[in-house]
């Protein structure tokens, strides 16, 4: 019993964003191929020049259902089987940013808050009163404001950028766990089966115990 309560308590904590000082903006990631393809395209344009996705290969994108011609354009002369490595060498990155930009394959899983963290982080850039670019979600960040949210002033432009951030986060969520949809689908079958089996076992148990006086 104590363990169960503990699990529940911990689940509440890990979902809550108490570790971050800034409250995160919740995002509902999309799982449909259209949004994820759009996210992949934005990512290739806005992020891929510095960031790698070494656990995703070009053929994974095609297998997921992203247009093959687009993937061919992205990969250039790289093989279909090669991972999405950045166009920047680590040494160049060190020189420009003083840090090697982290691999994005598992980014959504590697942060407290998951997709909401990445989404909030992308949109948290703003200019302080004295004109310095700041990001309260991760103040130590070396990344420039890739989506340009800090300089976006009119509402339409901000909405467009928010949509783009959501697409990118949706793609990254897929990239972090490509079998997520398959897992859940299988999960419903397994649970359905187990409920039937447990119900049957319940009746058998009652019948067998019914033999006792």
């Amino acid at each position: 019993m104590n363990a169960l309560v503990k699990v529940l308590v911990l689940c509440c904590f890990s979902i809550g964003a108490w570790a971050n000082e800034v409250p995160l903006e919740k995002v509902n990631v999309a799982t449909d191929a259209v949004t994820i393809s759009r996210g992949a395209e934005d990512l290739m344009n806005d992020c891929h020049s510095c960031h790698t996705l070494k656990y995703i290969r070009y053929r994974d994108l095609v297998a997921f259902g992203i247009d093959k011609q687009k993937v061919d354009a992205w990969r250039g002369d790289q093989a279909m089987d090669s991972p999405l490595l950045g166009q920047f060498s680590d040494a160049d990155a060190m020189q420009s940013f003083g840090i090697v930009p982290p691999d994005l394959s598992l980014m959504v899983k590697a942060r407290d808050g998951g997709s909401s963290y990445v989404y909030s982080y992308l949109l948290a850039y703003h200019n302080s009163p004295d004109g310095v670019l700041e990001n309260p979600v991760y103040p130590a960040t070396k990344m420039p404001d890739a989506l340009g949210i800090a300089s976006a002033t009119d509402a339409a432009q901000r909405t467009e950028i928010q949509g783009r951030a959501r697409d990118i986060v949706s793609f990254l969520t897929w990239a972090a766990d490509p079998h997520d949809a398959e897992r859940k689908r299988l999960g419903y079958y397994v649970l359905g089966y187990l409920i039937v089996l447990t119900t049957l076992l319940y009746f058998v148990k009652n019948q067998i115990w019914g033999r006792l006086k």
Binding site: L194, L200, L201, G210, R211
Partner: protein, 170 residues
């Protein structure tokens, strides 16, 4: 308790137990599937099941060995004399016309694994000789002397251009 022991009830009980056992058995069998499947080639291995080969560097009479699914594949650029010699015979132990073994007569593509015990035959004079047990193959990869029972296997392949083939997909 006494009334539970009537034949009808016993029958129902037996049926219930049998049905539950069957449902449970199906579940156990289904649960084995992922474990067995996990031992099959993973998707990155399957992706390497296709090999693309550029033929332009192989001069007439030349042979190139490429790896396909980890196995050696011999690609021979046959000379007109070799083609003529191959079409003239029909094979000895495992008769097969040369035309069925090639897509273009000047290009022979065969898996370089002896059909006897899996050794890799050596190119010697016309054809190949396997040094493990002495089997011999002609320039169409057909076995001319045992103990090998079959001709060298022709892998599925197709020409994507005049001098480019993809091995692994017909």
């Amino acid at each position: 308790m006494t009334e539970n022991e009537s034949p009808a009830n016993t029958g129902r009980r037996n049926f219930l137990i049998k049905a539950t056992t069957a449902v449970g058995g199906v579940g156990v069998a289904a649960a084995c599937v992922p474990f067995v499947a996990s031992m099959n080639p993973s998707s990155d291995v399957l992706a390497k099941a296709v090999t693309e080969v550029d033929l332009s560097g192989i001069t007439p009479g030349g042979v190139r060995t490429v790896a396909w699914q980890g196995k050696p594949v011999f690609i021979v650029h046959r000379t007109p004399e070799e083609i003529q010699a191959s079409t003239a015979t029909n094979g000895v132990i495992d008769p097969e016309p040369d035309s069925q073994r090639v897509q273009k007569p000047e290009w022979l593509v065969v898996v370089g694994v002896c059909t006897h015990m899996g050794c890799v035959p050596n190119k010697e004079g016309p054809g190949w000789t396997c040094h493990c047990h002495g089997s011999q193959y002609d320039d169409s990869g057909r076995v001319t002397r045992g103990p090998a029972p079959k001709n060298l296997e022709v892998p599925p392949y197709h020409f994507v251009a005049d001098n480019k083939i993809i091995i692994g997909k017909a």
